[in-house]
């Protein structure tokens, strides 16, 4: 319930979130730190290359343009054609990232919903937990490589089957963490709602779910990156070529000729995973309102 008038009256006292000077400074600091870390990583990479090439050390592996290309070679590869007379690598990879991103996003949403639904249906009954949790855990011990072909057989090879494979990796951390979060509320808060004679659904909605949100978002952060990995791996047994999995398989075959292409593909895949992660972080900031000790 928004008490508009009341909120407006208070706005003068509370500094607005977006424009406070501290926040801008903190954001600038963060960008500076990230940039500095990237530059440092570039420097270390090139230093390692230089030392190993000059000394001819072969441990743990000999360093040359194939095993460890220059960073600038990798970035330059983005602007080269992906094949003779073909489109630029960067446009090929961005298209692949969009394709894989769609699979991962749909898989993430399906998996997160399924995980949340499982947690909610198990939270009220120890018996149900005892009956079903072992199978949920067991599902994660089956290797992805064994599950993926079956999903492809059931659903036909396509982006949807890949999304289902991504969902398979996503739902588990969400189910386990949310279940824990739904049980994390203060017992006296449950007692308080009993004094209101609140129904089980009201307790779920007004107490259990809000209390579970920090747990849910920890799980979503894990699942966000897992869904990208799941989508990339899921593309392989389905022989889907439009995504990053297909690109990785393709550039793998030409690695000895153009190693930079595979490195570049990996960079894009990593960027996609990071984008998913950051989206969850932003959502958490917008949604979770807890005391400082409850937020990461």
């Amino acid at each position: 319930m928004a008490h508009a008038g009341h909120a407006a009256a208070l706005r003068g006292q509370v500094p607005t979130r977006a424009f406070s000077r501290e926040r801008v400074t903190a954001a600038a600091m963060r960008i500076g730190v990230v940039t500095a870390a990237l530059l440092a990583f570039w420097g270390l990479w090139e230093l390692y290359r230089f030392v190993w090439v000059e000394t001819g050390w072969t441990w743990p592996f000999p360093v040359n343009d194939t095993t460890l290309p220059h960073v600038h070679t990798i970035f330059k590869a983005f602007a080269d054609p992906s094949r003779v007379q073909g489109p630029l690598l960067i446009s090929v990879l961005l298209r692949a990232a969009l394709f894989t991103g769609k699979e991962a996003l749909v898989g993430f949403l399906m998996g997160a919903s399924l995980g949340f639904f499982i947690a909610v249906s198990l939270v009220h009954s120890r018996l149900m937990q005892r009956a079903f949790l072992p199978y949920i855990v067991a599902s994660q011990t089956i290797p992805m490589l064994a599950v993926a072909p079956m999903v492809v057989v059931w659903l036909q090879a396509g982006w949807l089957s890949v999304a289902v494979i991504a969902a398979y990796l996503t739902f588990f951390p969400v189910a386990i963490n949310t279940l824990r979060g739904l049980q994390s509320a203060d017992p006296r808060a449950h007692e308080l709602l009993r004094t209101y004679a609140a129904s089980r659904w009201k307790v779920l909605w007004h107490l259990r779910v809000p209390a579970s949100l920090p747990y849910l978002f920890s799980a979503l952060k894990v699942s966000a990156t897992a869904s990208v990995v799941g989508a990339i791996i899921g593309e392989l047994p389905s022989s889907i070529e439009g995504g990053l999995g297909g690109a990785i398989l393709n550039f793998n075959q030409y690695y000895s000729l153009v190693p930079a292409n595979l490195w570049a593909t990996n960079l894009i895949a990593a960027a996609l995973g990071i984008a998913f992660f950051l989206a969850v972080v932003v959502a958490e900031k917008l949604i979770v309102r807890r005391a400082p000790e409850h937020t990461a």
Binding site: H3, A7, T195, Y196, L207, H294
Partner: protein
Amino acid sequence: MSVVSISGMTKTFPKGNVTALQEIDLEVEPGEFVSLIGPSGCGKSTLLRVIGDLIQPTSGTVEVNGKGAHQARLDHDYGIVFQDSVLFDWRTVTKNVALPLEMLGWDRAKRKQRVDEMLRLVELQGFGDHHPWQLSGGMQMRVAIARALAFEPPLLLMDEPFGALDEMTRERLNIELLQIWRRMESTVVFVTHSISEAVFLSTRVVVMSPRPGRIAGIVDIDLAQPRSADTREDPRFFEHVTAVRELLRSVGADDHGSVLAEEIT
């Protein structure tokens, strides 16, 4: 009609076959402020929870507002305040106070009006948009009181609400609570382990003895209303404190020390 009517009530916990409360008889009349006091283990919090139907008695009858305690809970006949404020930290102060009103299905306009009234009552107007962790312990407790009284229950149950607060905050909140009690014309059952707090607040102090929990005696506190900081310096205040202390001593409370130690000042 009594607001609380307990007769022949016994509560045993099956675990270890502990008799927490034995043969309790107690009537609380409308407008009374009744404190339950006794050494730890006397079952005063258990008694409060039985009145609130948060635990069920083993035998005897417990009536609230002329009906069984269970029905009274379903009918929202009481509000409760725990030792901790138990505020939901994802809700603002406004929304915390509105929580029971939401449960009762009040519409938005009615909720807003009542919450504004309640925040004025506990002198927290202007803090409605704050989150609980931005408030001091005393302010959090005032929010909890506002929440408990928001739907104007005929009975207010309080379980050592000020036990975790410092002495100065506690004394200020004692005075505020009495003002609220007068203005709302409510009935209060208050658990405490502080003799001076019990005497200052109450119209009657129920002294309980431990193992098994029983009512050892009831002291009428006929100090003038409204009470103020001066009441604590009234010689008759000390007479009542002494009377309650004597009663506690007679039930062996000083063996446990917990009640008397903090009261020596």
